[in-house]
């Protein structure tokens, strides 16, 4: 950088990458490049594209279910198909969308944000992706035979061979194994990469919060996945090889499955939302032009949530045969996990407080996330009070609760992440106006779909029923919810079209369009294969802020730091030109 004349800093994007691509690319077919790649960025993009394909499939399944439930005594679907759809929807969204979509973001961003040139094990990384793809293919191939219909939680005895004889249930088990191995390998890769390959000077208290989120995601996957792998293997041997782990007629225990499944299943919830929290913890400070409020509290809360996440599983089983004293324990542990979660919500709002907010689309998705997730968190307290849960468990109140948590906590933050990192991944800016329109359609549609579901549960509508009689007080709420789901779908489609069009026609972004804080913005957009030629020494949690300050000191030209005036001007030019 010493060769650049000081006055050039004012006109050139700072900092700049001096050289990359030291050799000419070998000649190859373009699609073969993707299939054979071990580059973390290409693998990350493939993860994101594949998981969004599954997201759309899961969404169509949800729309079919909402269409069936729009009016009482509907015959659009039969109960067999309805049960298959609810199983496909739940399994797809969890195992084929939310968990792996974070692996996609993690793959792309972890090496860039910690200043590494790739993941620790690039080939293992490719294997993770292809195992995920195989899991999806095995699972969706059942559409041509008999899809599974015992639910994504697959409680035996219903999932045993006697009651679910079809191969669909076995395909579900196979999916859990394949995606499980995929996530486990990916998690080990993230862990090793983050522990060993950080830029010089990036000590644990200078680790970007997104990396903290991915680290905890990886640790929770390593803790939880072996348990569900064991459980589904036991189910498989029950079904085909004559064991009786879960068969009550030979002293097996269906409740054992519930304990094993939820010991995995509850950490899974945090696996799905911790990276989402982490995205918000990156985006909110950038667009508030302020440091995160209480970095240490955020990192600590992340670790505490991970610890407590392994101690709350039986709150999914409050109606199962379990002694009252155990229920009391799980109520209290579930309460405890509310505290670090609350600390994060307060922290985000405090970060915005006294800031200079630039309301980009990514920022709107974060604000929408906080507003929605708060409701999900609060209804979680209702459900943790186990006598109240005896009324609410297995009703639409729970459906509303976990969609507020997972749609708000995961999907809205995934969208925030895509809008935030789109310029880095594609080199082009997204259309901000269409992004905001999409956000508001999604926000309205989401609340229309799920808010009334609280009321449905309170008026006694159980989950998982394929239809209901008229005159029990559920018809109006169901109709509102179904209309809401179509609005939500329109919002999601708007964003996907926006990304597709911006990918072709968006304005060129430059290395750091947001004047952000972390190292991925140090390199060009999209980054070269080797990411960085020179890796800067990291001196704080916001290295790019330090670099801009340094440049300012050397050149006397104001860089975009605290105060958003310059930035806002540029941002408005970007959106209105």
């Amino acid at each position: 950088m010493a060769t650049v004349a000081p006055e050039e800093y004012a006109v050139q994007p700072v900092p700049q990458v001096l050289a990359h691509e030291v050799h000419a690319p070998r000649e190859s077919k373009k699609w073969m490049d993707w299939v054979l790649t071990t580059d973390h960025k290409k693998i990350g993009i493939m993860y994101l594209v594949l998981t969004f394909v599954f997201f759309c499939m899961g969404g169509v399944e949800a729309l079919l279910m909402r269409s069936q439930l729009a009016v009482p005594n509907n015959t659009l679907l039969n109960p067999e198909h309805y049960n298959q759809l609810l199983t496909l929807h739940g399994t797809t969204m969890i195992f084929l969308f939310v968990v792996p979509v974070w692996a996609g973001f993690g793959n792309y961003m972890v090496p860039l944000m910690i200043g590494a040139r790739d993941m620790a094990f690039p080939r293992l990384n490719a294997l993770s992706f292809w195992l995920l793809a195989c899991g999806g293919i095995v699972f969706y191939a059942t559409l041509f035979w008999k899809p599974p219909d015992a639910g994504w939680w697959s409680y035996p005895p219903l999932s045993e061979a006697l009651f679910s004889p079809s191969g669909g249930q076995d395909a579900w088990i196979f999916l859990i194994h394949l995606t499980g191995i995929s996530s486990l390998l990916g998690a080990i890769n993230f862990y090793v990469t983050i522990v060993n390959m950080r830029a010089p000077g990036m000590s644990w208290n200078r680790l970007p919060l997104f990396i903290w989120g991915i680290l905890i995601y990886a640790i929770l996957l390593i803790i939880a996945l072996p348990v569900v792998a064991a459980a589904v293997t036991m189910l498989l041997t029950d079904r085909h090889f004559g064991t009786h782990f879960f068969d009550p007629t030979t002293h097996g225990s269906p409740v054992l499955w519930q304990h094993l499944f939820w010991f995995f299943g509850h950490p899974e919830v945090y696996i799905m939302i911790m990276p989402g929290f982490a995205v918000v913890s990156e985006v909110v400070p950038v667009f508030s032009r302020k440091p995160i409020f209480g970095y240490k509290a955020f990192a600590a809360a992340t670790a505490v949530i991970a610890f407590l996440a392994t101690l709350v599983w039986a709150h999914h089983m409050f109606a199962s045969p379990i002694p009252i004293v155990v229920l009391g324990f799980f109520m209290l542990s579930s309460f405890l996990i509310g505290i670090p979660t609350g600390v994060k919500i307060f922290g985000w709002i405090a970060t915005m407080w006294q800031g200079s907010l630039v309301m980009t689309t990514a920022m709107w998705y974060c604000v929408g996330f906080i507003a929605i997730f708060l409701i999900g968190g609060i209804t979680g307290i209702f459900l943790a009070v186990f006598p109240v849960d005896w009324q609410l468990n297995d009703t639409y109140f729970v459906v509303a609760h976990f969609h507020y948590v997972l749609m708000g906590g995961a999907v809205f933050t995934v969208f925030a992440g895509v809008y935030y990192w789109f310029p880095k991944m594609t080199g082009r800016l997204c259309n901000e106006r269409w992004g905001k329109i999409s956000f508001w359609i999604m926000f309205v549609g989401f609340n229309a779909t799920f808010f009334v579901q609280h009321a449905l549960g309170l008026s006694g509508m159980p989950r998982r029923i394929y239809t209901y009689p008229p005159g029990v007080g559920w018809s109006t709420y169901n109709l509102i919810s179904s209309i809401g789901s179509y609005i939500l779908a329109v919002g999601i489609i708007t964003s996907i079209l926006n990304w597709a069009i911006s990918y072709k026609r968006g304005k060129v972004a430059g290395p750091d369009p947001w004047k952000a804080n972390t190292l991925e913005w140090f390199t060009s957009s999209p980054p070269p294969t080797n990411n960085f030629d020179v890796i800067p020494r990291v001196r704080s949690v916001t290295p790019m802020l330090d670099i801009r300050r340094e440049v300012e000191r050397h050149t006397g030209v104001t860089q975009k730091r605290a105060g958003a005036e310059q930035f806002l001007h540029e941002h408005e030019q970007l959106t209105h030109s």
Partner: protein, 274 residues
């Protein structure tokens, strides 16, 4: 108080609160829910207003210079302890309310006359009406008889399907079992749900406060016709209940006799035909 709230006829009664009004345990859950709801509403309004206020007040146009604050330890400790305190209060309230939800009271004086027995849950004087509830794909069966758990089908206890008939003002204890997959017993106005798990026996109780008919349905996915697994509880006077039991016993006996007659006719015809 909670009872009167639950009984208040309002179109929006179940928009923000669960059903109740049929039995003291359902009413206690309702009261507990209201406590949580009030605390939740305060937290919700406070946090969402702070968020909305921040979004509209600190826009870059109105507030061009961001204050570079890294945190405030006192504030952070403050809100962490505030959250902990709220949850502590809710935990205390829950454990205070718990006995009235879990432990049944004695039957009222005008309830059905009962003798004592010793299985959980138990009212203080030990007198309760036991009904055995058995879930199966896709129907509920109710066996009426104090020993229904031990003797099962052998004692020729009266039974009915789908609609359970019980006397008003009487402590009814349900012993819940399943014959095949997991089901979940739930009549919202008469209390919370209890899973029917094959291989286990689970219990719940209610004491109907007035005569009437209550609807519920199986709450755990049990197969394709899960939606059709309705349950009704018909609360009648003790005299009507007595009449129901004897009537049901007679009907079952008559029909069993008809079945055995038919069976003997069919088997003898078969013998003639062969």
């Amino acid at each position: 108080m909670a009872g009167s709230l639950a009984l208040a006829p309002s179109a929006f009664a179940n928009f923000i609160t669960p059903k109740g009004g049929g039995s003291p345990n359902a009413d206690s859950i309702h009261t507990l829910y209201l406590v949580v709801l009030i605390v939740a509403a305060v937290v919700f309004v406070a946090v969402e207003s702070a968020l909305v206020y921040a979004v509209f007040t600190f826009r870059a146009k109105k507030h061009p210079v961001a204050r570079q604050i890294h945190g405030n330890t006192r504030l952070e400790i403050g809100w962490t302890s505030a959250a902990a305190l709220i949850l502590l209060i809710l935990a205390v309230v829950t454990f205070v309310k718990l006995p009235s939800i879990v432990n049944p009271p004695n039957s009222q004086k005008d309830g059905y006359a009962l003798s004592a027995s010793v299985t959980e849950p138990n009212p203080p004087n030990g007198q309760k009406l036991r009904v055995c509830v058995q879930g199966r794909q896709y129907i509920w069966r109710y066996t009426y008889g104090q020993n229904c758990l031990k003797t099962g089908y052998a004692a020729h206890d009266p039974y009915s399907y789908t609609t359970m008939v019980v006397p008003v003002h009487t402590t009814v204890v349900l012993a819940i079992q399943s014959l095949d997959v997991i089901h979940s017993w739930w009549i919202p106005s008469l209390g919370g749900k209890v899973d029917a798990v094959p291989g286990d026996t689970t219990y719940t109780w209610f004491q109907a406060t007035h005569v009437g008919k209550y609807r519920g349905q199986c709450a755990q996915l049990c197969g394709w016709n899960h939606d059709a697994m309705d349950a009704y509880v018909d609360v009648v006077t003790p005299a009507q209940y007595k009449a129901f039991l004897s009537g049901q016993t007679r009907v079952i006996r008559d029909q069993n006799r008809q079945v055995s007659q038919l069976r003997s006719i069919l088997t003898s015809e078969n013998q003639l035909g062969s």
